[in-house]
Symmetry: C2
Subunit: 369 residues, 2 copies
């Protein structure tokens, strides 16, 4: 298989690595007999979703209504829209539900519960509603001990809209060791168990107890009472996950294919045709080490010490370490760049050049809201 026929820059997806990563999460969750509800926001590809979900009608998670529409059209039947609901999005949610999709929405305020309650009454419908729990103080959700938890659940329960609780351990990304990630996984699970227990005491039962983030899904233990785990970037992996220790760089299934388009002889710089438009502006967790991405050769082998030091819109600059000569990388040389953040890099592209043994395929992806 030759990559030479591809126009650069473009996005490569190594199918075997993708499948290995998917198997890893599936095996981990099977150990604990807990269900998976993969997050499809990273790859936004129906083809990739088939492998992540096994069966497209299996439960999944999305971050936009665009994803919900596209995956519903492809056959998804059980979708959690995991961003706090606003009133303006309810008609579209109902449209999807009327097409035969079970839609789950999330909220963390009495105000939201009120307008969802009113909307369902007006439209004579039911929307499965989850209360977002804050397990790490990083973003949204209410604390398990917040009295609002009961108030929100009650108004939802009064119209049979309440389904359970959901949390996301975004704080796992701040971990410095695997033990810190393991501790965060326990904290994440404890937060929703605590919330469910408080609700149970008020005779409000949780059918859904949902946790998730790639680090805590892969390193978590126990999962007692947890009914489902959401993870997204696990399928492709990226340098953020490698820097957290959650994977190795060689597990990363995504890379940006680029060509050398110039040499700055005075500075010993390679100029690439992958700038931030192809790589994204995401600097990940270790800009000093990875810059805009780790450089690999055409075959995907890491070139130690070589990374994209800076990026303009359509230019990437690689400062060669002392002792490496520009002549090793003549103009036209193909290189691959491992992404800092798969969600961000993939979003810069319209699809994936899928490489698999001797075959190549193209999987489209979509964006938008």
């Amino acid at each position: 298989m030759s990559l030479d026929s591809l126009q650069t820059p473009c996005l490569l997806l190594d199918k075997q690595k993708l499948l290995n990563n998917i198997n890893r999460l599936n095996n981990q969750l099977a150990r604990f007999n807990v269900s998976s509800r993969p997050h499809l926001k990273t790859l936004k590809s129906v083809d990739a979703a088939r492998y992540m979900l096994g069966d497209l009608s299996a439960p999944c998670t999305v971050s936009t209504l665009q994803e919900a529409r596209q995956f519903a059209q492809a056959g998804c039947k059980d979708i959690t829209y995991a961003v706090g609901i606003s009133e303006h999005k309810l008609p579209e949610i109902l449209d999807l539900q009327n097409q035969g999709v079970t839609m789950h929405i999330i909220m963390d305020s009495f105000e939201q519960a009120q307008f969802v309650h009113a909307f369902c009454r007006e439209n004579d419908c039911q929307l499965s509603s989850l209360i977002e729990i804050d397990c790490d103080g990083k973003r949204a959700g209410i604390k398990p001990g917040d009295p609002q938890l009961i108030a929100i659940a009650k108004i939802l329960q009064s119209a049979e809209l309440f389904s359970g609780v959901l949390t996301h351990a975004g704080g796992a990304y701040d971990s410095h060791t695997l033990d810190e990630i393991r501790a965060m996984a326990q904290q994440e699970q404890a937060a929703v168990r605590d919330a469910a227990s408080k609700l149970n005491k008020r005779q409000i039962s949780c059918d859904v107890i949902s946790v998730g983030s790639t680090p805590t899904a892969l390193l978590g233990e126990g999962f007692e009472q947890v009914t489902e785990v959401r993870a997204g970037v696990y399928a492709s992996m990226d340098l953020v996950m490698a820097d957290l220790g959650v994977c190795q760089p060689e597990d990363i299934a995504l890379s940006v294919l680029t060509r050398v388009i110039g040499h700055n002889k005075e500075k010993n710089w390679l100029i690439l045709d992958a700038g931030w438009m192809a790589l994204s502006r995401d600097l990940g967790l270790a800009p000093q080490r990875n810059g805009y991405g780790q450089v690999c050769d055409e075959a995907g082998h890491t070139l130690p010490g070589l990374y994209v030091n800076s990026a303009n819109q359509e230019h990437g600059i690689v400062a060669l370490p002392e002792g490496l000569d520009l002549s090793l990388f003549s103009i036209g040389t193909l290189l691959r760049i491992l992404p800092n953040h798969a969600c961000a890099t993939a979003a810069q592209h319209a699809g994936y050049q899928v490489i698999s043994n001797d075959e190549m395929d193209y999987w489209p992806r979509f964006g938008g809201w």
Copy 2:
């Protein structure tokens, strides 16, 4: 005109501000009787290009072959592809030229000149070739005094491919005062004049002497011998330009429309449905002041001290300053976010909701390579 019918997040383009910005550059260049070759890479919109170019057949600049194809199809006839050429892109360049478009390509090495020369001989064609000059040590190009300049020009001239010299003062973005930008504009012009003069002494004349960057185009003086000026972000402007002093925040024609989707009461945070997917990961020049973007009210008036402090994929967080209460921004409230970097933010969207007095329009944009 009400924005309430729009799904959020989405990208707004204020048409009057766009036209004002375009007039400003046109008036500035008219003062010096120098031609404009607008860079279309920021907005990537045929509708916007009509206003930037006046007549679509007028000279323009692009950063990808995708832009070249799309704008050629729309009627552009004179296109500079302002990224160092690689051999693999030459067949597409020739295809465009065979469709009646004059294509200009750029290079900064003898190696590139050799393969362009060979390609044109093999295909019995001519491609207008510009030598990229390095005026600031920031990226690509050769120094005016580099002996390679003559060598490259000679091999190009031998096949009647040589058209002139081009430079880009990316270093203007490092300026701290308007005087520094003015000095950079002089440095940029001096670099290409110097290169042209050295070539003239060897009986090689430059039909094209091209400079450009929005700061140096708007603040430059003189432009003696310069035949054209390239600028792109001038049409929309952004916070980077405002921070450089090149425009005021109220000149910025682009903004991301978003709704409040949650309150973190403990931290006095607004949660928005515009995360980095809608805003981009670009932190601009002043992350301490602007974060992921300056917050404005629905009408576009800046809310001092409010910016998007942090961003997840589909969540933006605005930490309200002390004294401001969350109740001022109920869930559902529309806000606008001014972008740090227009090129990066616009690239996250499929098109523009164009607002103009009482009318609304939609202009599609494209991406890809």
